[in-house]
Symmetry: C2
Subunit: 459 residues, 2 copies
């Protein structure tokens, strides 16, 4: 049924098209009309790419046509022409039978009333043609799995576009670009990416509904300026929730200058923040403060096993000071660091040096430098008991014994208890080795505990 | 007068000694008794280094003596022997006339009542000899300027120990180590570094008093578990303040498990947090949540020119979404993003593309990709007007035009208005180029605005 619903919605043409026309195609791979062609080829899109430009016979080694006609019809058309030419481009595309349209051009509802009227006309035209229209004033879409890259975002200049289960939708393309950068830098992979811009036709609710039903999406991040179809949005969120896909959202326009900025950006009118807060809460959507926090929560949820409803933390550190700071940060976000049971004390008695107190947080001290397996034994004891939900491990520097520390963490991980690892000053190789086995590494105490607390909301 | 006060306090022997004995010296540069020798030589300490170990004639190519005697007297002695041997080592050092003593060994007040009694005896012995004693259970000291490295911290394994004006003092040596790593990674430099551990003799108040009067220190970071001599501490903070040296402090033990952790760490008893909050506030000390925040505030205060009492922000972005998020984050911390004056609108009319709204935040949009000097013109207009205290600039990716963006920022900087630059996904070369001219680069919106708001407290 999910498959049926999905394939029946024409939004699929924006993400699953097998032929793509670029109207206003450019031979310059750095120009707005040149980038999508360069990206589609570089990332290995296997469908047809049709450059459209009346002044060229060939663009980036591909045959170029002067105008879209029936015969040349593509499933998806990217309109990269300037705003004054967008109407005629759209008319051509719809006449040629394109079912998905992406309009990059800006200068519509976000700029003046005439622009708003024009984009409303675009929407009616799309409806009449049975097509869907993304934008205007948007950065388009990406399907990392099929390598469909219908965007000119500079985020892909140096990206490998790693494949994964994390999807983004939002009104802002630029924030979507920074999201790609952060997702890739943290070792996660992308499923789908939808930037809705001015939303004259396709809205955030449509995008969420698509992602909720997309089999390649396991986790969803959102940037929201306004929710134009709240009932549809709530229904989409409900479907995401029943599919077990957490949704993490930034909602901007909380402040007065923020509302002004939102209106200038996409012509959206952000209402009172309380209203959004309630909607998001009712949907089970986790509100995050920044892309950094979104990706931190994402890294926790995509780790193996992910923390689930942690409330009782065991804390193991190599620094008494860090242990105290973790306790304070946990307390700030409602997570407890309960003391050890008598039984656990007895078990730890056999493992810890005599000068280490048997209490939570457990400070294994610098003694670990000459005895890394001791850390592994302590973690294993904690991972195999039922008195804690999650183990928070704090390491710092110690690159000379990094292999032993990594082995200790990996050994405990095998027991299936969620681990959260904060390692200040970890080497690049250590980060990579841990990432390769699904263990994310964090570097700051309060932000990590805040992210951990936000995984509770979804449980 | 400052110089006079400073040179008269024997704490100077812990940081300005010209001869250093290492008692319990090791030939292994990775051992606690070997690291300080390796560091002193590697970092270029020009004074005498005297390894002490009855079992060796030579250690790390230096002549080794079996015991400290009058003739061999050093100004500073590092005691790196195990706890049971610390008493006899200390007796020797004091008899030999050492005026500064650092005791690394753990297992005293933080462990049991006997340990507490023993460290109290150490303190009386130091007093009788007119010496000062740092620790026990501490990581020692660093004077980056004179290359005096009386510590075994692993933070120096891969460090260059960059010289600068930022000093650290705190009960935790490990957090001090992470502080070094973060300070160096962010391009700042170190002046002095004092870890007090169990504080049987030299306390945080002594350390702060020294740093407040130290001519090489311009900014002070602290990690505080407990303040043992509050009146002296307040007086030291007053001196730091009149010397124009901001103090940024982490205070741990706010929560119940946090207090328990603090007590296990250094034997300190953390009282009610309200009491510390009041003391720190009365001293004009800025409380920060983490080392990350401490270094972020430090980077702002050490930039040129530093933000001073910013309350009215001009915000210039390449992303409307980021502009909205900056407004929200500013509002959360009490900073305003006021709208533009009519005069400023007129000035910007001549600079901005027609489709960019003349309002604060100013979203110069992707148009900057083909016209980076436009960003420079906008920044220059804002930097030369009186309606804003600080300009917050948001850039993202755009590595293909990085040189133009950097020129634009540097040009505006020349006008003397504080700039705060958030650049998501900046390249390593861009970070370095900006750092080289005193412009720090941040990567996250809410944390940067929080740090900016904390610079207000000190004005």
């Amino acid at each position: 049924m999910v498959g049926a619903v999905r394939s029946s919605h024409p939004i699929k043409y924006l993400l699953e098209a097998e032929s793509i026309a670029v109207v206003g195609a450019s031979a310059d791979p750095l120009k707005i009309g040149g980038r999508p062609i360069e990206y589609l080829r570089r990332f290995g899109f296997t469908g047809r790419i049709i450059p459209v430009n009346p002044q060229r016979r060939e663009i980036q080694s591909l045959p170029c046509i002067p105008r879209l006609t029936d015969e040349s019809a593509a499933e998806l058309a990217i309109i990269a022409t300037a705003a004054p030419d967008a109407l005629i481009s759209l008319t051509d595309c719809l006449a040629a039978g394109c079912k998905g349209i992406v309009i990059f051009s800006a200068g519509f509802a976000e700029f003046n009333p005439e622009g708003r009227a024009l984009q409303e006309r675009f929407a009616r035209m799309a409806d009449e043609a049975g097509a869907v229209l993304l934008g205007p004033n948007c950065l388009g879409t990406i399907n990392a799995h099929s390598r469909l890259v219908a965007t000119f975002t500079t985020a892909l200049e140096h990206s490998q576009l790693p494949v994964g289960g994390f999807s983004y939708f939002g009104q802002s393309g630029a924030l979507g670009a920074y999201w790609i950068e952060k997702v890739e830098a943290s070792g996660l992979g992308v499923a789908k990416w939808i930037t809705t811009g001015n939303e004259c036709h396709i809205s955030l609710a449509d995008a969420l509904l698509y992602l909720a039903q997309d089999p390649e999406t396991t986790l969803i991040g959102a940037y929201i300026e306004d929710i134009k179809q709240p009932e549809r949005f709530v229904e989409a969120a409900r479907i995401a929730r029943s599919a077990g896909k957490p949704v993490l959202a930034i909602k901007s326009g909380r402040s007065k200058p923020g509302k002004r900025a939102v209106s200038a950006h996409t012509g959206a009118v952000a209402g009172e923040d309380e209203w959004y807060e309630e909607i998001l809460k009712a949907c089970g959507i986790v509100r995050v403060d920044s892309l950094t926090e979104m990706v931190d929560v994402g890294r926790l949820l995509l780790s193996n096993p992910p923390p689930r409803a942690p409330s009782r933390l065991a804390v193991v550190t190599v620094s008494g000071g860090a242990g105290a700071l973790i306790c304070d940060a946990a307390s700030d976000v409602g997570l407890d660091v309960p003391d050890l049971s008598a039984d656990m004390r007895r078990r730890l008695d056999k493992l810890l040096p005599s000068f280490v107190l048997r209490q939570n947080p457990i400070d294994v001290t610098g003694a670990v430098v000459s005895n890394a397996p001791m850390l592994g034994d302590v973690l294993t004891a904690l991972a195999s008991c039922a008195e804690f939900d999650t183990i928070v491990i704090f390491l710092g520097l110690m690159s000379s014994i990094k292999d032993g520390l990594i082995e200790a963490v990996k050994g405990a991980r095998a027991l299936g208890k969620p681990l959260v690892l904060i390692w200040v000053g970890a080497s690049t190789e250590s980060l990579q080795a841990l990432r390769d086995c699904g263990i994310p590494v964090f570097a700051d105490i309060p932000t990590t505990l805040r992210a951990l607390a936000k995984t509770v909301v979804m449980s």
